[in-house]
């Protein structure tokens, strides 16, 4: 039955292809998460691809923020009208699989060049794109967390302006020197700032990775929120403001963090590499970009968006979509996209292109994210992802605002995650 259906679909597909003069249309949803004329750049890419690939028509559709994009894509999917291709968060993978909305890329990889393409991405980015032995996402606009520091503030505090804190202890030590009070006793400049609004789990994952502990298993069915090393990592984060007084107390807004940095209200900030272009054009002082400090080891989670291929598509569309994704992630394009947006070009050979080499030479900070990738781990993602993540987010915010101890907060979060994930274990 299924086979016959598939055959019929194939026949219908090829019939359609013949009738339409071999014109295949692929719709493509993409979110915008950084500044700049992104929609124009994408439209330009689509037009250039169409020129090189007659017979394929790409319809790029701007779909809002990441959250609005997943709402739009799944809403359309439920009505039987999804896009062929979409850029969505890498952490949406399990949700999309659970909704049976997407197909794995593996079956489409036929030629050697296809397989080489698939192997060309940094392994750190592929961790979030694969599960159950299949590849569901192709890394596109990916990022990691890095530390930005104000060199002038370091100089004023009597620190070496060219040396960012390399360890947890150093961060506290530097932070104490960098925290300055004004005459009325208000803090004029904080030492460190790690934002905690909206998605604190992502930044927390840097601390846990550095403390050499993982938050979830590879199948996305188990979390380890109450592991002692996780609690220890949270204690360190909480102590930055509670014990050491080098970070603003309470929840720190992600959206205003770069501005806090530009306004010299904080000397070191942790935020995404996607902010590189923003900081470069808006910081009115000499700044540095560094890998995050090491605890027991260096570490950061990856973040950002992948290409997903939707299930309700014809074989022709899938084939065309693969060609388009391959084209979009070619070394030259990946390099250009990284330069335009500040995202990390997702494959090693993109960093060998002449454009990228020239860019890095003039702006060496851009290479920090790439060098940090060897220590990067997959972003927290499980089945029923956003719910399991929310349990952790709530616990983190409770600990950071002081309404729970780190231990109690993580125990509560783990209990909630257990309850949610139980049905997914077979």
């Amino acid at each position: 039955m299924l086979k016959r259906l598939a055959l019929a679909m194939l026949a219908a597909g090829s019939l359609f292809a013949v009738q339409a003069g071999a014109q295949t249309e692929i719709s493509f949803y993409y979110p915008v998460a950084v500044g700049g004329p992104i929609t124009k750049i994408i439209d330009g890419y689509a037009a250039a691809f169409e020129k090189e690939n007659p017979g394929v028509k790409v319809k790029p559709i701007y779909s809002g923020t990441y959250q609005e994009s997943i709402v739009k894509a799944l809403t359309a999917n439920k009505a039987g009208d999804p896009p062929v291709l979409s850029v969505l968060l890498s952490t949406d993978m399990y949700s999309l699989i659970d909704e049976d909305a997407i197909v794995a890329w593996d079956e489409l990889l036929k030629t050697d060049s296809d397989k080489a393409w698939h192997k060309s991405f940094f392994p750190g980015f592929m961790e979030n794109s694969q599960t159950g032995g299949k590849t569901w996402g192709i890394p596109f606009q990916r990022s990691t967390i890095v530390a930005y520091w104000n060199k002038e503030a370091f100089k004023e505090a009597g620190l070496d302006p060219n040396k960012a804190p390399a360890s947890w202890n150093e961060m506290v030590e530097f932070g104490k020197k960098l925290t300055k009070k004004d005459a009325s006793g208000n803090v004029a400049q904080w030492g460190v700032q790690v934002p905690s609004s909206g998605f604190p789990y992502w930044l927390f994952q840097a601390f846990t990775t550095q403390n050499n502990v993982v938050l979830m298993n590879k199948d996305g069915t188990q979390t380890y929120y109450d592991n002692p090393a996780v609690i220890e990592a949270l204690q360190y984060w909480v102590d930055l403001s509670k014990k050491h007084n080098i970070m603003k107390p309470g929840i720190i807004e992600w959206g205003t963090t770069p501005k806090d940095f530009f306004e010299r209200k904080v000397a070191i900030m942790w935020t995404t590499t996607g902010n590189l272009t923003n900081v470069r054009s808006n910081a009115k002082f000499d700044f540095g970009v560094a890998m995050l400090p090491s605890g027991k080891r260096p570490g950061t989670p990856t973040g950002g968006g992948n290409f997903y291929l939707f299930k309700k598509s014809t074989p022709q569309q899938r084939e065309a979509a693969m060609r388009f994704a391959k084209w979009m992630t070619s070394p030259e394009r990946a390099a250009q996209w990284g330069i335009d947006t500040g995202y990390v070009a997702a494959r090693a050979d993109a960093w060998d292109t002449p454009e990228m080499k020239k860019y890095v030479q003039g702006f060496p900070q851009a290479a920090v994210a790439r060098d940090q990738l060897q220590y990067a781990v997959a972003e927290l993602s499980t089945h029923d992802n956003q719910r399991v993540t929310k349990a952790l987010n709530d616990g983190l915010q409770a600990a950071l605002t002081g309404s729970k101890t780190p231990e109690a907060a993580m125990k509560d979060a783990q209990r909630e995650a257990e309850r949610i994930l139980k049905p997914y274990r077979k």
């Binding site: 659970d98 049976d100 909206g198 107390p249 309470g250 929840i251 807004e253 987010n393 915010q397 409770a398």
Partner: protein, 291 residues
Amino acid sequence: MNRTAAQVHGWLLLLPTAVLLAAFTHYPAGATLWHSFFSTPKPNRPAVFSGLDNYRAMAEDPVFWQSLANNLWFALGTIPVSIALALLMAIWINGRLRGRAFLRLAFFTPTVLPMIAVANIWLFFYTPQYGLLEQLTGLFGLPNHNWLGSNETALGCLIVVTVWKEAGFFMIFYLAALQAVSPNLYEAARIEGAGPWTIFRRITFPLLMPTTLFVLVNAVINSFRLVDHIVVMTRGGPDNATSLLLYYIYDVGFKFWDSAYAAALTMVLLVILGATAVLQFGFLEKRIHYR
């Protein structure tokens, strides 16, 4: 006109509205609520009838209870203040104060500006250290405070934004109603020596009762419906301190994709709003004297 003709006319007048409402409100709402008695369908697990399971889960869900409690405080904080301010603004503008054109524009701007953008501006006002509020309190030598980032003040900050957004909106309706009040009534009252407060209490306020009912119903509903600014400013944090019922429904429905549970939560919201609407109509509409 005979009775049957009147009845037919009545329904004909109503027909276009009824059709559209049925298609785009009642049908989807009904479908949503029907789903609240089933489990959430997944491709490999079709929906099964689960009776009151979703409601039982809700009773045990601490985030639901916290969102509900937050929402009641939010309603208590926004409804009386925004209605009182709206009435005051309308009376001021309707009076002969200096610079009425400016006042009118100032009070009305919140209605015109898109919430997603305005919420970002308010975010700046509340930003610690260099935000507008901190710059002002700093002038008086007050200590810094993380307004949106602490449990105690976050909800209050959102209430202020909501009152700001709503008062000018309600003012428009009071203003429209005030302009329909005949000036002769005021003349007569003044000739009889009534003071401004007596005029307000005896003439203006009773005449505005239909508008007050209208505004009150809308204020109650809005206090359960306005969540755009939460998305931008706090995302329900810190630790659910600003999570309101509809925001939580949005989380459950469009982040967790648990449509059945979201439907059950929606049901609770509808019951609350329905009950207050019935109360308001039962009490107030009887007391209102339409001219």
